[in-house]
């Protein structure tokens, strides 16, 4: 199998060369800071991902609300049901801001109730309210005005526009998702910056080592490799730890039935559980490139 050149070069830079590693002294007490940073950042990233995915799902689920439907529930004596339904439909047809309206059939009513009462429900024999589905135009109708006119036309009619209050929630959910994505990007950038700083500081601290290596004829690539390998491995192992703890954190969040509506969704579903495992290689990659950049840049200070 032939790999693309940038990848083979990256792999070559990562290939274990104990001798090139040894020429740079062990980094002492600050070494764990990179690992810790990567772990903390990955941990946060797992939550940002969970938040982003959950709010994405929420936004989709609530986007029914964006279809702008509401319901009119009509209770009337059996004899007047049909007449009042017709009157309401006529009223709605003349209401500005209403796109369409239609009465649900018995079959549809049964389908709605089935989850609660089972399939054998004799819908026809029950004094069930009639349901009229109203689809709103854009801009929508005036709720209070419609309520008043309904009261005049059919006193037993109740306009249920519950879907309306969901609309800002759906918007909030998609904004939350954007925030989550933004957080992921910020966390990634901050980590790249920190690894770059740590690598530069490490090169600075090892100025004599770098000078000696250059003097005996070491190429920049050779010197950079020792630093790049070190920081990439540290960031990668830190990210592994962070991802595991992040997953544990998401797992111990209360399940759907136990907690309230919003928190239930905060977690991963299906393939989503694999996403946190993408983070360590990604973090490794970020560390690889930022260390390489820092090293090759810093090395230019030494001739």
């Amino acid at each position: 199998m032939r790999l693309p050149k940038p990848i083979t070069r990256a792999l070559a830079l990562m290939s274990p060369d104990s001798r090139s590693d040894r020429v740079v002294p062990p980094s002492g007490h600050t070494a764990w800071l990179t690992t810790f940073t990567a772990a903390a950042m990955t941990f946060l990233c797992v939550f940002a991902m969970a938040l982003s995915l959950a709010s994405g799902r929420l936004a989709t689920r609530w986007s029914d609300a964006l279809a702008r439907t509401s319901t009119i529930r009509l209770s009337a004596p059996p004899g007047q049901m049909e007449a009042q339904t017709a009157a309401i439909l006529a009223l709605l047809a003349a209401t500005p801001g209403v796109e369409s309206a239609r009465a649900l059939t018995d079959a549809e009513n049964r389908a709605l109730l089935e989850p609660w009462f089972g399939p054998e429900l004799p819908v026809e024999e029950l004094p069930l309210p009639g349901l009229i589905e109203v689809t709103e135009a854009d801009p929508g109708y005036d709720t209070d005005g419609l309520r008043q006119r309904l009261r005049a036309e059919a006193p037993g009619a109740v306009l249920d526009d519950h879907a309306r209050w969901r609309r800002p929630l759906a918007e909030a959910a998609s904004k939350l998702r954007m925030l989550g994505l933004l957080s992921i990007i910020l966390i990634g950038t901050a980590m790249a910056a920190m690894v770059t700083l740590a690598a530069s500081a490490s090169l600075e601290a090892n100025a004599q080592v770098v000078r000696v290596l250059r003097l005996v004829g070491a190429r920049d690539q050779y010197i950079a490799r020792a630093f790049v390998r070190r920081f990439t491995l540290r960031a990668f192992s830190g990210a592994c730890i962070g991802a595991v703890f992040g997953l544990i954190g998401v797992l111990i969040l209360p399940r759907a039935d136990a907690a309230g509506a919003f928190l239930t969704g905060l977690g991963f579903t299906g393939w989503g559980w694999l996403l946190p495992f993408v983070l360590p290689p990604l973090v490794g990659l970020v560390a690889f490139f930022s260390t390489r950049y820092a090293a090759l840049r810093k090395l230019r200070e030494f001739r």
């Binding site: 020429v23 250059r214 005996v216 004829g217 920049d220």
Partner: protein
């Protein structure tokens, strides 16, 4: 007498002479160096012929180290040209500089090592960074030559100044470089060890290596002159001159 290789009088001194036609491992042409406070070295024109042996003398602060640094591409001349292995140093990229350093063994005045690695590893550093290996026999032989066999596993900070200089010389020659440049290599060693190091350098010169040594040890120069044809360059009034016969 200034060194002017282009002139006809400079030719025909025979093989081994430092000014020898157009063949040169390192060539200076009207080169100057200025750290910022005026020119320290001016109008240096000379060629180091392959296989030649040069000493460079001059009072402390006259610019010996500066001159050597130009000769191994550590410093670029602020005027004029320096050519190393037929390449103008200003055109050398970073990897080219690394390649040049693999062909020039340098013993610095302020010898530096990787302090966390034992002496033997430090001596092999030029080989390590260029992906080469040396046999244990060669290494032991070299250690014996510089009298450091008993310190192979010692860490550099525990060595004396003389031991460091000998180790640096060993490190400079382990790659089998074409040129060996040493900046006061006998500065911290006793006379007996100085002679031993000189013998080593003379031996290397007989093998065809080009040698350039900065020193103010006139006894060492006299000793060398007894063994091999050498030339002595002296820095005086910012110029590099060929020293007179009094040496």
């Amino acid at each position: 007498m200034y060194i002017n290789t282009g002139k006809s009088w400079a030719r025909g001194f025979g093989a081994g002479f430092w000014v020898q036609g157009d063949r040169a491992v390192i060539a200076f042409e009207s080169a100057a160096y200025n750290y910022g406070g005026g020119e320290l070295l001016s109008d240096v024109t000379l060629r180091l012929a392959p296989g030649s042996f040069h000493f460079l003398t001059g009072p402390s602060g006259s610019g010996k180290t500066t001159f050597l640094k130009m000769a191994y591409a550590e410093l670029l001349p602020t005027a004029g040209h320096v050519t190393i292995f037929d390449r103008e140093v200003k055109t050398l990229g970073r990897d080219d500089v690394a390649a040049v350093r693999r062909r020039i063994g340098v013993v610095h005045q302020d010898v530096q090592f990787l302090d966390h690695l034992p002496l033997a590893t430090n001596m092999q550093l030029p080989l390590i960074v260029s992906g080469k290996k040396t046999s244990a026999d060669d290494l032991n032989e070299l250690l014996k030559w510089v009298g450091l066999s008993h310190l192979a596993d010692a860490l550099p900070p525990s060595l004396s100044g003389g031991e460091r200089q000998r180790a640096a010389l060993a490190r400079a020659i382990i790659m089998g470089p074409d040129v060996i440049i040493a900046d006061e290599p006998t500065g911290n060693v006793d006379w007996e060890m100085s002679l031993r190091l000189l013998t080593l350098l003379v031996e290397l010169n007989r093998m065809g290596k080009t040698i350039l040594i900065a020193t103010h040890d006139l006894n060492l120069i006299r000793q060398a002159k007894n063994q091999i044809p050498t030339r002595v360059l002296r820095i005086s009034k910012r110029r590099i001159q060929l020293a007179g016969a009094d040496l």
